[in-house]
Subunit: 387 residues, 4 copies
């Protein structure tokens, strides 16, 4: 697990910069230079294309270590890993079944190879009003000479203005029922970042709005076939859910680390109430981490299985609630002096609260898990639409 | 309860300014102009001196309403109410017993009358390293012609740079065992505000450091007798503890208000998980509010009684934990869109976390309550020193 | 509050018998002899009929004190208090509006006078399958010479086989839409107790099944008019909900009492974890008790108001959850030796769990409170039918 | 994992008998006949002695499956597994280091072989007043012709009156500082069971008092050398702690199973509050189970390591708190009808509460984990003595 080691080595550097980017809401450009240099952009790229060929389990371990340094950096990296991971996960069988041409696979391989060489990709999926539901998108595209023209606006685009390309979902102007995905290269023409991101936590993700009015070459249509967006979305719920879990376990652990350091420095380690808080937090974080590892292991072994999906939801639910509760308790253990801006616990308390809110939210995961345990089908019986 | 009505009327104005002061960490000067105009600076001043002659119960109701508008404003007002309330609570019998001269009582009355006329007072008690424990102070004073010279540095002085005078505790240079309190007038000479306050929550309190190197007239020594500081501190634990509770119940209620408004505006009121969160929060806040009212009632009827003190700790413990838990749950009910800076829930989530950390902290209150229930004496048997 | 004093005096006698009745599932006959002798059967009876003319607030205080002795006894007494309280609460105006005849009021007064003289009444409302919903009843009655014949089976009839009469709801054989209530005298003919009650907690309530095949005189039809059952049920939600709350606060307090006694006897009062548990329990119970008192005060002042109902649900929710959590924590504080049968905490842990399950359950209260806070109408919008 | 399969197969048979043994407080003799027949008494016996040679990880999986059937049976089996597991874990190196003779190893092997052939062993360690602390024992032994005479009284001896032999710790009459362990054969002479066990939960363990006044042959001294008791106790904290964890995860899972069955049978699976309870319970139980598996894995790989011990305490803490919380929530989900005696949830609610109380209690585990995370040594710095 060389990549995990690399992430662990980088974490203190990320941590050292975290307070500044949190304060200013700026993007951690140096963190991404470090990630590039460490070769982590190729983490999910098959080794024959120059990458590390990591599986999902290894990725979650990497994400957890990065998040222990800076959760925001890990969240942005998560998007790149999702894109490269999903592209890499399209097997030849699946490609055949979907009607993906050989040229499209060559194009796909080139994008992956570029990632391994140091490019990184962001995701521009959500829209105001539509959220992340593909069925509600208003961004449209139509064919033009040599490619496609895409027009619309995206929100919550982590890393906006900093990525080398953006995974964009859009609806065909010709046929409203067709939703396709494009990997749109960064370019001053046609892409405009509207700086809307100013959030309670995870402030360094630069999850701004992205306005598109841009033409891309034909080979930027993923799969080379229109209408594959939903298929891919359903193939990779783990990328959209379990990897959040990995990040928030890292955040929770960082909160325990910070409380231990704070209390040790102040000689407050013998207070019984403090020790009980640390002890219970330690156990809760350790359990959540095991749940993430178990979900990841199953994603690698049996992606999409009903039982795998349950583990993904368990991991998400446990990581989100644990991070919020642990960070709140650690701040209480550390006391008022830890609430000063710039103190790691002040930031982690805010960052940690965001985990339960990412989709699938904790309440939704609890509902789906309940439906599944009661013998129902979360896709059909859940009180919340899944996509 | 005219003052409570006034506070309720002002709350929306405070709320409208809260986001800006939170963002910039600026003091809510307009809020204090409103409080002055509404006559609230005289709330605790006896009516014969031009005030409202409120009792503690009425004060906690006022504080709760103000906090529903802006918790930070309520916290600063809390300090002024503490000073005027404690001064007003010194009865003639007590004054006699403490050896307070008639001149000192006249001086006291003048300070109270000035409050009723629109002056407001801050508290400069805590010091770095010493916290709020009088026994550890390093600020010193010595007699000079016509008064006292005071030199030292204070921290967590809410309203620093904005108050008309500061209640300062200092140690006699002549006799280290003597700690006295002065009401030091605001003045450009001898008082310097060091802007250190930059906190997770309650950002508008301007609780900066205050450096003193100042001479005050003799009549600014409270009680006219040196060495009364500890006596007063022990007389008014309710001011130091129960009034925090009142503020944080107001903050918790504001969080429920904000979630209801947010969910109603978005048409999300029929989600079962959301309704359960709101319902449980509603009950918890209502119970905490009753506990504050009960503590306040007993403070008025039997100040300092063992059972009164237990109610004060119960109120503090319940208000602190309820505010933090309710705000976290309301943010989860409202979802990601409520985490954007400027949204009331984003601020309230941060403000609410601070309640358990004010002294006596939630963990300390739990310990003292446990000691008392088990037949011990919290002053003697608690695992934490009380002052 | 003479009755409250009487209840406080009786509580230790109830407590001394509680273990035996819990073990054997027997009815606390001696407790009811004590209640009779103390005049508590007339608690809710107007003074002009020989009773104490207590209001609801006083009743909840009595119930809490009795429950501190034995929760099961308090639950059965609750049923008698509900019957006499509801009968006594029918004002002349209401009687007029409902078409209640003067003879019926005379009959009502006789039943109340008999209660004041020492009779006590149980409630036989619930049926298997129907629960407590009047709309689902299968017990039927028809007119016969000089009265009514009632036939059917009831369940969860607390005090079955011990009461002097039973409040029975039945449906008219002639008109299915008409539901009436009768006060059926205890008699060996026509009433048969089937001993079905064998429960986790509250084992001494003798809440057995009651089979009826009995003729009652005409004046046993409450109100003298058929079809009043639903009206009365809607008039007294506080009796069905808030009085449970009073009982479970008493149970919670008994658990704290028992833990304090246990720990003191074993010299374990200085363990920090134990003290924290006791302290947090103390605060939670105190807050729940205030909520019950507030609900009761409002029931007396503005019965049936929307805000009164909210307080009733808050009290029920807080009492039920607090009792269960506090008893579980107190048992953990006391340790294994307190799990031996016959130890008060062993029983209280089981008794306390039942509070959230009585209607309206904690989950239902949370839902209704959420609906109300979000501006809806719990009668119409709740996810659970109210009757 | 053939033994795990066998346990899974037996669980429904154990479950079918559980209600009766719980009600009557009788020992599940048929369960132990089933365990014998399935060969599970030899689970921890090396294969060269006729056993299965299972490692600790496999044992915890077996214990969890048995507990899903009946927690009490699993707890008693736990004692047998502890004795055989600890005996089997004494390596030749360790035996050498401790001065264990070859004859003693032969005797040890014979005891293990007898277990594989169908004998099972109980543990008689705790004493009234002393608890499980070896340093406080009052049971004494002295040498007699051909063996030892042991005299004293034990408490909490699970399986008393049913086992084939008892592991007894006693103090040398000749030298108070020497504590030794004997495997005392069941016999009508010299062993007397005093039926004291009548507990909230785990009622079928027959954990009665055992009075000893008995002579045993010399080869029944474990290790053949006096004074080894403490050494063995310190070698096997996992047996005393982690195996409890395995049992209570099984109990927690049984509670979820029972709630699902109950709710499905009553058609209540679509209530949102119920689904949320089931979903959250499902995730919590899954996480606790992972923690037990991780602790067990580390016990096998690095027994006694500081990090292994932390995992053991995490597993114990998580299993104990999860079992109690999950069972309480599942009972609330299922409602009043599940509180009737004989319903699985009624029993599981009581059984589940016992987990946190077994040593090391949840509060003690939290303290030790806190000490360890804060860089201290739980053996030295914990607020509770470890043995």
């Amino acid at each position: 697990m060389e990549a995990v080691e690399a992430a662990r080595r980088l974490a203190p550097r990320l941590a050292a910069r975290a307070a500044r980017h949190d304060r200013d809401g700026t993007f951690p450009t140096e963190d991404f230079a470090d990630l590039r240099e460490a070769g982590l952009f190729g983490l999910m790229v098959p080794s024959e294309l120059g990458g590390s060929g990591a599986r999902f389990a290894e990725y979650t371990a990497v994400a957890g270590e990065l998040a222990r340094g800076n959760g925001a950096t890990a969240l942005v990296f998560n998007m790149h890993a999702s894109v490269t991971g999903a592209l890499g996960a399209v097997t030849e069988e699946l490609a055949d079944a979907l009607g993906v041409s050989d040229e499209a696979l060559v194009a796909r391989d080139r994008l992956l190879a570029e990632a391994a060489a140091g490019s990184w990709y962001a995701v521009a999926m959500s829209e105001r009003g539509a959220g992340a539901r593909l069925s509600q998108l208003t961004t449209v595209y139509h064919r033009v000479d040599g490619g496609y023209h895409i027009k619309g606006a995206k929100t919550f685009c982590s890393g906006a203005g900093h990525a080398d390309a953006y995974l964009v979902a859009a609806r065909s102007a010709a046929d409203q029922s067709v939703v396709s995905q494009f990997l749109v290269p960064a370019s001053p023409d046609g892409l405009r970042v509207e700086p809307t991101w100013d959030s309670l936590g995870m402030r360094a993700t630069a999850s701004h709005d992205l306005h598109l009015d841009v033409t891309v070459p034909a080979d930027r249509l993923l799969g080379g076939v229109e209408g594959l967006a939903l298929v891919i979305a359903q193939l990779m719920p783990h990328w959209l859910v379990a990897s959040y879990a990995a990040v928030y376990v890292g955040v929770a652990r960082a909160a325990v680390d910070a409380a231990v350091e704070h209390l040790t420095a102040r000689g407050l380690t013998s207070l019984p109430a403090v020790r009980a808080r640390i002890g219970r937090a330690d156990a809760a974080v350790a359990a959540a981490q095991l749940a993430v590892a178990e979900a990841a292991r199953r994603v690698d072994e049996a992606p999409g299985d009903a039982e795998t999906n349950r583990w993904v939801w368990r991991a998400k639910l446990l990581a989100g609630t644990t991070a919020a509760e642990v960070a709140a308790s650690m701040l209480e253990a550390a006391g008022t002096s830890a609430t000063r801006r710039g103190h790691p616990l002040e930031r982690l308390y805010r960052d940690a609260r965001c985990g339960s809110l990412h989709p699938a939210t904790s309440d939704v995961c609890a509902d789906w898990l309940g439906v599944a345990a009661l013998g129902g089908d979360p896709d059909r019986d859940g009180s919340t639409p899944r996509w």
